[in-house]
Amino acid sequence: MFTKVLVANRGEIAVRVIRACRELGLNTVAVYSEVDRNSMHVRQSDEAYLLGPPAAKDSYLRGDKIIEIAKKAGAGAIHPGYGFLAERDDFAEAVQEAGLVFIGPKPSAIAAMGDKAAARATVAAAGIPVIPGTDGDAILTDEDLIALAPDIGYPLVVKASAGGGGRGMREVKVPDELPGLLQAARREAEAAFGDGNVYLEKLLLDARHIEFQIMADSHGNAIHLGERECSLQRRHQKLLEEAPSPIMDDTLREQMGKLACRVAEAVDYVNAGTVEFLVDGDRNFYFLEMNTRLQVEHPITEMVTGIDIVREQIRIARGRKLNYRQEDLQLNGWAIECRINAEDPYNNFLPSTGQITTVIPPSGPGVRVDTGVYAGFTITPYYDSLISKLICWGETRGVAILRMRRALEEYRILGVRTNIPFHQKLLNSPRFMAGQFDTRFVEERFTMEEEFDGDDNLAMIAAVMATLVTHRETQQAAQIVRQSERDTSNWKWVGRWERMQR
């Protein structure tokens, strides 16, 4: 049984895994790139090894080097976090071949779910509804796809078989666009994943993205931990998640949860995973994909179930039985997560880099902040822009929203721009408050533009503050001028003094 875990990741998720290890009494080994020497995960681990230059391909994607370090350090297991090597079946395989434990599913399950077209086929065969689209995992040519498209119907989506993160994806509104967009999608998929295969899926309008957290042990037990509502996205990047979903009821939850477990069983799944569904306006749901790893937004499920998912992951990897049975689980209250990214919501969400000069995190009842940064740490352009996850819990959705609002207002991060104002605006939007939104809400119905109201009292306050700061800066500049005048005269004095000394 392993007692030392190598954490093959960085940022908040590496810190999250290290915390879970510590609380289990396990030693931790961190790996880091040249720009991450002073990262929280390096500081908090028991050992740390340099991987290489900043670019991920030279550091956090160097599976070979990571396995070598694990062996050298005597780590018995590797936790991949999310991203980087988390869903690479070849890496999971290599870890096992090196005699180490991969804290995650078997390589075969990662592979089965990694090819999105193959996963559709597997899941459909197990009797799970999938979004209407091209069937099976055969490789289809452009002509095949163009021929199949009318059966699926428009609008539809071209998706990369090896896809993820929205890359190699194109929406097609009318048949004429299809040939051109197929080629564009293939090019992008080839560039991103080294695999140009694509498939077609019907485009669901007014759909919600709802996912189920599942956990399965190596003794044949699989349970689900309820759903997460992840419809609030921008360019296929989730921004705000909540658990439970405002549209869920017990019946639908039980039905979808059971199917999620069946999806997991279909690929002999072990450890934590997430089954994603699209749910349309008539509450029909369709399997979208399965993420065979820990999810960024896992904390909201932790808040409403009381289960430490990362600890359970490690326990399962150690061969233990699940600590919980499905009937023991009870959802308690409501949790919301806001992803705090280093990006400028007022400038097209452009990433922002630089040294963080101040962090004053919110706290108090029901507030959790998962982060890997601190005042003095530098955000570099090499990795994703997530700097912190702000999670708020309340007895009801209303309480959780109010608490999140006050937490966002309290949060101070200086040195880089953040999307906190985006979240503040989102949480104030009537549609969000009413729970009425779908996956297109942020992009199509939401704007950071202010409708400026003439007798807006806050505008006057802003004007006063801007003026006071300008006034101060002018005064200080004047002082500096005076200062340098004095300096000059000092120098003159020195000159005179020196002349006297001759």
């Binding site: 993160g165 360019r235 990047q237 280093a342 990006e343 007022y346 097209n348 969400f349 452009l350 990433p351 922002s352 880099t353 000069t357 101040t358 352009p381 090499y382 990795y383 994703d384 822009s385 966002l408 207002e409 101070r412 200086l414 906190i420 104002p421 503040q424 605006k425 104030n428 202010e450 400026f452 003439g454 806050l458 505008a459 006057m460 306050i461 802003a462 004007a463 006063v464 503050m465 801007a466 003026t467 006071l468 700061v469 300008t470 006034h471 800066e473 002018t474």
Partner: protein, 165 residues
């Protein structure tokens, strides 16, 4: 000292009399203005109402991030205002504009070419950084006069990418 602060065309006349008092649009207000922890966070008590904002001087205007809203404020003292009003001509939209990389990254696409006319807000370059593709848009309309990068290029922060006339 008298200032004119303007937000989206609405002007406020703000007179800073002395420490502890200002006149805003003629209204006398007691003010206690402090920077917090020597950072550009300011706590203001205005007639005992408590406000806190990030305030930073940008290139042209002062940015005030207050209760989740961003206000761009143009602040001028009276002398500057008079100067501007007498010399006001159509200086905008003139000269060459150079698009520089706001961060290091890899150029994904350059959807425009030399000689092409572009509208304000049109995509000029797509730059990948922090795992995201970022659209760099035209700040005004004009003609592309030079393209200095190609897809696949690694660029440094502030590197010139493209010019517009």
């Amino acid at each position: 000292m008298k200032y004119i602060a303007t937000i989206k065309g609405q002007s406020f006349e703000i007179d800073i009399n002395e420490a502890g008092e200002i006149l805003a649009d003629g209204q006398r207000l007691e003010v206690d203005f402090q920077s917090v922890a020597d950072q550009p966070i300011y706590s203001m008590l205005l007639n005992n109402e408590s406000f806190e904002a990030n305030v930073s001087s940008g290139e042209s205007s002062v940015e005030v991030l207050l209760r989740g809203r961003l206000f761009l404020v143009d602040v001028e003292d009276e002398r500057q205002r008079r100067l501007r009003e007498t010399t006001k001509v159509g200086l905008i939209e003139e000269g060459e504009y150079t698009l520089t990389a706001p961060m290091p990254g890899v150029v994904v696409t350059v959807p425009v070419e030399v000689g092409q006319e572009v509208e304000k807000g049109e995509n000029l370059i797509i730059l990948e950084s922090m795992k995201m593709q970022n659209e760099l848009k035209a700040p005004r309309s004009g003609t592309v006069s030079g393209v200095r990068v190609a897809p696949g290029d690694n660029v440094d922060q502030n590197q010139a990418l493209l010019t517009l006339t």
